[in-house]
């Protein structure tokens, strides 16, 4: 569990809401269910035995429907809500037992939060809002305004620094919220349904913005969402919560291929597969007929394919050849093999999302080859394979 890459690890965290958490905890240890506890003691179990760890530099999405405990979960991380039991380790240090001063330090330096409702201060200008975190940390005015201005420029609001929040649109207000969190330069960014209050177009744009910022800065982000499309788009890994329990954790593809239970499966039922899978996940190495530059042909047994893929000695794709016109004499000679190649061919990078490749595959006469970043041949995607995958 204590991987050196883990920046935050949560172990056996419970949260009981109510005035007798000890009774409820004892009942939980004795194996009572949430419902039994609520009936007998009136205590609500918000988070139930949550354990997971977040790696440095990843976007970790906590997903669930409303009431699943995801918002409680994220507030346990910076102790806006005190956990009833369990440990939360930030960079290997347990923060559940921290005193007031140390806790303030964690909130000021390590974790910043972006809120669903934006929660900007209406009496402060955009710049003052962005500088809010530094102001309460006691950073002097010039320094904090400089850093706040930089953060505002990162989110594209550099020119609005003297406006007031009520003069901005929802999307712009949330950019200010994001800038406020970025100004602190936190180790971890907590985003509580940060884009849920925005309309779909703006939400999509903000997701893109977040992905762009993440590519530039490599921050660790914990993102709360109830929207699977959003989770799949921005998340490196997703934790699915149901009724206060973490049901399953994994990459979007893992969750889709091996759902732990019906709940997870239903979640993924309506989702567009092409947004989850990458071309490399689909490409099948067996379905393509490969021709080595030395002339050896490897054709899969059930092959009706009319095309071959010319590879050099290090498996790099050199071209696509129509098998019809290919005769034995040409096979022996590398130059003539190269001459037989089609003038141009399309290919897809294996890390491309399937949705971006659909059009290319559909419009092509031959199965599209998929290559790695370094040009290595990975396999092909036929139209049949594409249809099978999409109709899952």
């Amino acid at each position: 569990m204590t991987d050196s890459n883990d920046i935050l690890s949560i172990r056996n965290v419970y949260k009981v809401f109510g005035d007798q958490p000890d009774t409820a905890m004892q009942m939980l240890r004795d194996g009572s269910t949430k419902e039994e506890i609520f009936e007998e003691t009136g205590q609500t179990v918000g988070v139930f035995d949550a354990s997971f760890s977040v790696k440095k530099g990843e976007i970790f999405v906590i997903m669930g429907l409303s009431g699943s405990g995801k918002s409680t979960m994220v507030r346990l991380l910076n102790r806006l809500i005190e956990p009833t039991a369990g440990t939360i380790e930030l960079k290997g240090k347990d923060i559940t037992g921290l005193g007031d001063a140390d806790l303030l330090d964690v909130r000021r330096k390590e974790m910043s939060m972006v809120f669903q409702s934006f929660a900007l201060m209406p009496h402060m200008s955009v710049l003052e809002n962005a500088a809010f975190g530094l102001e309460i940390s006691g950073v002097d005015k010039d320094e904090r305004n400089k850093r706040a201005q930089e953060a505002l420029e990162q989110v594209g609001l550099g020119e609005h620094s003297s406006s007031y929040p009520h003069q901005l649109s929802g999307g712009m207000q949330q950019r200010v919220g994001l800038a406020r969190a970025l100004t602190n330069d936190p180790t971890i960014l907590l985003m509580d349904e940060a884009f849920s209050a925005l309309d779909p177009l703006i939400r999509y744009e903000m997701q893109g913005e977040l992905i762009r910022l993440q590519q530039e800065q490599e921050r660790t982000i914990i993102f709360i969402s109830h929207d699977l499309d959003e989770a799949v788009r921005i998340g490196d890994r997703i934790a699915i919560m149901e009724g206060g329990r973490v049901v399953q954790i994994g990459t979007p593809e893992e969750l889709m291929r091996n759902p732990a239970d019906d709940y997870v499966e239903t979640f993924f039922k309506g989702v567009d597969v092409s947004k989850i899978l990458k071309a490399g996940d689909v490409a099948c190495a067996n379905s393509g007929c490969t021709i080595r530059i030395n002339g050896s042909v490897q054709s899969p047994p059930t092959n009706g394919s009319q095309f071959g893929y010319l590879l050099d000695n290090s498996d790099k794709l050199q071209g696509v050849i129509s098998l019809k016109g290919l005769d034995a004499t040409a096979k022996a000679n590398p130059e003539s093999l190269l001459a037989q190649c089609m003038d141009s061919h399309e290919s897809i990078n294996s890390s491309d999302m399937l949705q971006d490749a659909v059009k290319t595959i559909a419009n092509s006469d031959y199965p599209i080859p998929v290559i790695e970043d370094n040009g290595t041949f990975k396999g092909v995607i036929t139209k049949d394979l594409l249809l099978q995958t999409l109709s899952r």
Partner: protein
């Protein structure tokens, strides 16, 4: 003597509340005179200063100054309004009395703010304190002023200072209530955001809660002023000077002219103060984006000065 009857037990059972109050009061008067004199002292000082200043300003200067203030706070129309109201006060011949009343009202406002805002903050922070404070405020607002007028005279004597004191008792509650309400009404998400960024309770109060509660607190200040003004007439019974005294004398002598002039003076003063504090409340609203030095006469002078420099 009739027999003991269950249907009317109060012929035999009674609580001598009145006697108790009298003996407690006697005890206080005899043993704590020094303490009550000490309470008089700060009120005396503030009252002396404010009355000294207000009475020494010539009426015309006073009118010009307050219309400039009105302009600064709420624009040219407000400035004009202030000038007209105050001019009329002078015209009906009650300028000096008005200034006495104004100083009484401002002094009691000063102490109401000093006491009321912290009390409001405390009761916003703790439900227990609120539970204790609430019935006390209810009593302060509903107890007829005549009831505590007598003990106040016994403990503090007569004159302007005890007058200010009874005014404070009557005018304090709305400020405490509205401060409490204003702070409690600060949206929870703003509080949560402030906590998430590491605010100490003190920073929370001064950077988030009080600024966001300011419009409500200003409404409380406005109410306190209005109540103070209405109390001034009653307080004149314990020999408080000013417009209230005019009204009281007018009633006593059946001199309707005198009473009306005094009453009208009070109304004009009330309108003047009400508009001014309302304007201040609106200014503290978040939708105002201009800085104070960019508006009103100050803004005018700043612009002129900058314009002159540019040339």
């Amino acid at each position: 003597m009739s027999e003991f009857s269950l249907l009317d037990p109060f012929q035999y059972l009674n609580l001598p509340l009145g006697e108790w109050v009298e003996s407690i009061l006697q005890y206080l008067v005899q043993n704590f005179r020094g303490f009550f004199r000490a309470i008089r002292w700060p009120i005396d000082q503030v009252l002396d200063i404010s009355e000294g200043i207000l009475q020494s300003i010539p009426p015309l200067i006073g009118i010009i100054f307050s219309s400039l203030l009105g302009w600064q706070l709420a624009g040219k129309r407000m400035g004009l309004f202030c000038a007209v109201t105050l001019f009329f006060l002078g015209l009906i011949g009650v300028w000096s009395e008005s200034m006495t009343t104004l100083s009484l009202v401002l002094t009691s406002l000063f102490f109401c703010v000093v006491l009321g805002v912290p009390l409001g903050i405390l009761s916003a922070r703790s439900d227990r304190i609120e539970k204790i404070v609430r019935p006390v405020l209810d009593a302060m607002q509903t107890l007829p002023a005549f009831v505590y007028l007598v003990p106040v005279v016994m403990l503090f004597g007569i004159g302007n200072v005890p007058g200010v004191l009874v005014t404070i008792v009557f005018a304090l509650p709305p400020l405490v209530r509205l401060t409490n309400l204003g702070i409690r009404q600060v949206p929870a998400d703003k509080i949560e955001a402030a906590r998430a960024f590491g605010c100490t309770p003190r920073q929370m109060l001064f950077r988030v809660q009080l600024p966001l509660a300011t419009p409500t607190i200003m409404a409380g200040v406005n109410q306190t002023l209005m109540l103070s003004l209405s109390m001034v007439v009653i307080a004149s019974m314990i020999s408080v000077g000013g417009l209230g005294q005019m009204v009281l004398r007018g009633i006593g002598r059946l001199d309707m002219g005198l009473a009306t002039v005094g009453g009208l003076g009070l109304v004009l003063l009330a309108i003047f103060l009400d508009r001014l504090t309302q304007a201040m409340g609106e200014r503290s609203d978040s939708s105002n984006t201009l800085h104070w030095y960019e508006t009103g006469p100050v803004g005018f002078f700043v612009r002129t000065f900058r314009g002159a420099q540019a040339k």
